[in-house]
Amino acid sequence: MKVPLSWLQDYIDLPDSISELCDLLTFSGLEVEGVETVGSDYEGIRVAEITAVRRHPDADKLTLCTIDFGEEESLEVVCGAPNVRVGMKTIYAPVGSRLPNGMKLKKAKIRGVVSLGMLCAEDELGLSERHEGIMDLPGDPAPGTPAVEVLGQPETVFDLEITPNRPDCLGMIGVARELSALTDRPLRLPECPLPDSEEAPPPSVDLQDSTGCPRYTARTIDGVTVGPSPDWMQKRLRLSGVRPINNLVDITNYVMLESGQPLHAFDRDLLRGDRIVVRRAAPGESFTTLDDRVHDLTDKDVVIADAEGAVALAGVMGGANSEIQPGTSRLLLESACFDPATVRATSKRLDLHTESSYRFARGCDPTASEQVSRRAASLILAHAGGTLSAPVADVYPDPKPPVELECSWEKVTGLIGLDIPVASMKNYFHRLGLDLISESDTGCRLVVPGHRLDLTRPVDLVEEVARLHGLDRIPVRSPQARIVHGAKDVELRVEKRIWSHLADRGFLETLTYSLTSPELLDRLDPQSKGQRVHLPNPISQDQSVLRSSLIPQLVETLSFNRSRQLETLAVFEAGKVFRMGKAGGVEETISIALGLMGTTRRPVLQQQTPLGDQEAFLNLKGELEWIFQRLGCEQDITLTPSEDPAFAPGQGAEIRLRNTVCGRMGLICAAERERGKFNGPIAVGELDLQPLFPEPGALVRMQPIPDQPAVTRDVALLVDMSCRHQDVLDVIAQQRPADLEQVSLFDLFTGEKLGGNRKSMAYRFTYRNAKKTLTDKAVEKMHRRVEDRLMSELPAEIVGRG
């Protein structure tokens, strides 16, 4: 809310320092979001009279104005404004002067004509945003008069953020009242003496919905003259961001800005039947607001109606059918209190947001309605003339009783954490207008003034004491560390270990949005179709579904970086993925995904050798195995080929933990490779982390370290191309000798020499007995049986031994 300092000064004497005022406001809870100086001292800028106007020789829209600015010699300036005319008084900024925006005027050539300075519009003088034409000064100021004398001294305007709990501060008086409480300075409220009204029955007000409108007042004034409002009022409205219209409308706006409570003025001659009805709208009732929009109303809306139909949407906007006209002479002034929730709902449903609806939606003080009406009426009589044609109609069927609160000294000081003397607390309450009605050793009872709608519970008094005492006086109490049992952060600790492990392995951690596009998921997580969580009200199609897998966005990340000329990259992301659960509801699981582009796993000097598919796959598999090892589950993991269409055929695998799928990995399919403009295989993998977490409290048990020597046998097997490593292990497992400690693959060879359909796999067999040294002969016997089985079962040919 924009608050001009000079306006506040009507109600309270304030400290001179602007920064002191800003601190006062901010630390009372009315945060100063900005301080603006409107206008300036306009040094060198002055009044000029246009004495001649001629067309610019080379530009249709420009004119050359000869001006008298109080010097002996007149001069000529180029002007682009459409409103120039001979005899016009305007503001001239000569060469060398500085505009409020800091621009210094220089001699300039505009389309070939030299211009000595410029004639100014309101925006250039920092007065408003308007730039329709140069200023057309009213009255008859002498040419050469310093601009500051006609435009006024610069004004300081605060921009305050009013939190939703403080509707009482949505007006100048409310802000002044805060400052009065904070500084303990007296508040001067405007006097609004009203002459006696004529003897007549008060206007007829039929209040049918006292829930939607707890109080309605109507005053009638006859014989007003519509015209411009006084300059000072127009200036204040402009400084507050409200456009002046005419005296009647301006006064209602002025009083709204002053008191915080909106008002509305009807042309009484347009009110059919000369009566006001406050009622719920009839379902389907149609109403045209004064912005000429037509609305279909429901029985949730409250309207102000005359004898025939609605004339205003209560607290939101008036109607086109009853608004003030240039010829209006009789008016009915409404000052009422409307229910916040009703106004909020109507304003939201009709998408109709006004200064009025904004204020009523936050709440208003029903006890103030009549006083606000008096203030507006007195201004109308003063600035628009007319007479009070009848006494006020004031319908307030259930006067709101004042709120009384019990305050416990100990509760207040206990929550603040500071011993504040009782006398101080009572003083703060007094300054805030809270009347003390009784007091005991332990506390007191207070009456809350009507405007403090936010003080409804004893706890609400704590903040009042704290902020008046000063939040900076709250002591800094050293942390009182104490263990609270029941920590469930084992999982986080494990995750942290994985995050930092991957960073150490050269992976960059990425973060992507939880919301993504269904089309992307279709491509890279097709199997989740049917289980995805779609948003009914997304901002865009690109972010309309919760991610079901981290892989799709990880591939996008790789592609994004590829298009920025990166050849190699290792990335991972850890986070939640979402699917519809079988029993309904959304299942959230913690997932981790890894992606490798290029030869990141190779030694630096071998980076340029092209990366084969098998190597790319094994690189990523190796990284996943690191994680399994870190989690202690590497023995329970198996990979089986999968048909997942995200992966190239034959290049994807399902990852299983004790036969339950817990992840997938593979090389992305050719279409994705092409789309991402990748120039080699892209390996990605994803794990569902939760099932992999170690059992809480699981401990390692030490195994004896063998003291017997091992005997090794190396065997090179020539096998069919389709024979997998697992097939070899499976055959060995069929009859594994007890003393066979380990079997490890150490070479894999394919080549022309072997023919296209065969390959050589070399294994090392390690034999050891925990109790005795194995003899060559004993090993030979065991090993021979293994070899025989491999030859017959795989089948394999043994092409080398060592």
């Binding site: 901010t26 630390f27 809870g29 945060e31 939190t163 939703p164 709990n165 929730a341 909020r344 939201k348 206990g414 929550l415 603040i416 954490g417 500071l418 706890v459 903040e463 902020r467 900076d472 709250i474 002591p475 800094v476 109490r477 050293s478 942390p479 560390a481 609270v484 029941g486 469930k488 995050w499 991957l502 960073a503 050269g506 992976f507 960059l508 951690e509 990425t510 973060l511 992507t512 949005y513 939880s514 919301l515 969580v533 779609h534 009914p536 009200n537 901002i539 972010q543 919760l546 990340t557 920025r564 290792a570 939640k576 979402f578 509801g585 959304v586 959230e588 990141t600 030694p603 630096v604």
Partner: protein, 337 residues
Amino acid sequence: MKTTEIEELTRTACAEIAGAESVDRLEEIRVSYLGRKGKLPEIMSRLKEVPPGDKPAFGQAANQFKQAVTQALQEQKQSLQRTSAPANALDVTLPGTTGFVGGNHPIRQIMVRVIEIFDRIGFTVATGPDVETVFHNFDALNTPADHPSRDEQDTFYLEDGTLLRTQTSPIQIRYMQEHPPPVRIIAPGRAYRRDTPDATHTANFHQVEGLFVDKHVSMADLKGDLTYFASEVLTRDAKVRFRPHFFPFTEPSVEVDFTCHVCKGKGCRVCKNSGWIEIMGAGMVDPDVFTAVGYDPDAVSGYAFGMGLERIAMILYEIDDIRRLYENDARFLRQFA
């Protein structure tokens, strides 16, 4: 021959050796002085001509000559060998085998840091679902039934009436429902708001929520714990400043500023000359929240705070656009590795 001549010869030899530029040349020099037909045998052959009284001195001089030349030869040889590499010498300046830079995302780093700092004063990590109920996200947090933040304009609702949590505060509710007081938790997570993306808004962001409930918890505890946190996370001896504010779930509510980490409070560009940086919202848990989770508001009190990690990352690292944190440009991410 006099001993002075031998000393002169020693100096000549040493100079010659020092000037030698190859091992081969050194060998020539060695032969010319110490070889069978070199200077040393020649000197020794003169011994018989020396008067007997001078013989010990002469012998000693000859010996010194031999020692000096031998030592000079040795030193020069070593020095020459140092400058010429052997055949199997390594290029020690080549890059190491694994030269890749990895690292955790700046948001992750800050999240972990915040958790660690509170872990030290007895806070436990708590988490909750991203898909929340209206009760946990709004009702229990004392949000009025027609509060604008509940609008479909601002909140993502799912078909079944659940929503994507707009804050991590529902974790407080869940935790208190399941645990009797005292409670000290720190709760990181994602939150979602229906904002149109721009330089300071994204559809989801990260928050960390703190909650401390016990007997006699006061604003002084809040200030104390946050002052400790500020000193750990931003700058030593940081101070904390409260500004009154309004949140439905705390009363009183405050916005919390920390001493600017760049200028240490003197005023600079980063803090817009105020010396302070707005970091989080906080306050004393509203009695209505306690009632909603079944705590007795007369028996306990507590504080809660919440901060946006993206915002803190942007302040700390002077990041100009929040979307950079989600763009995942390796050149950006590597800066924080």
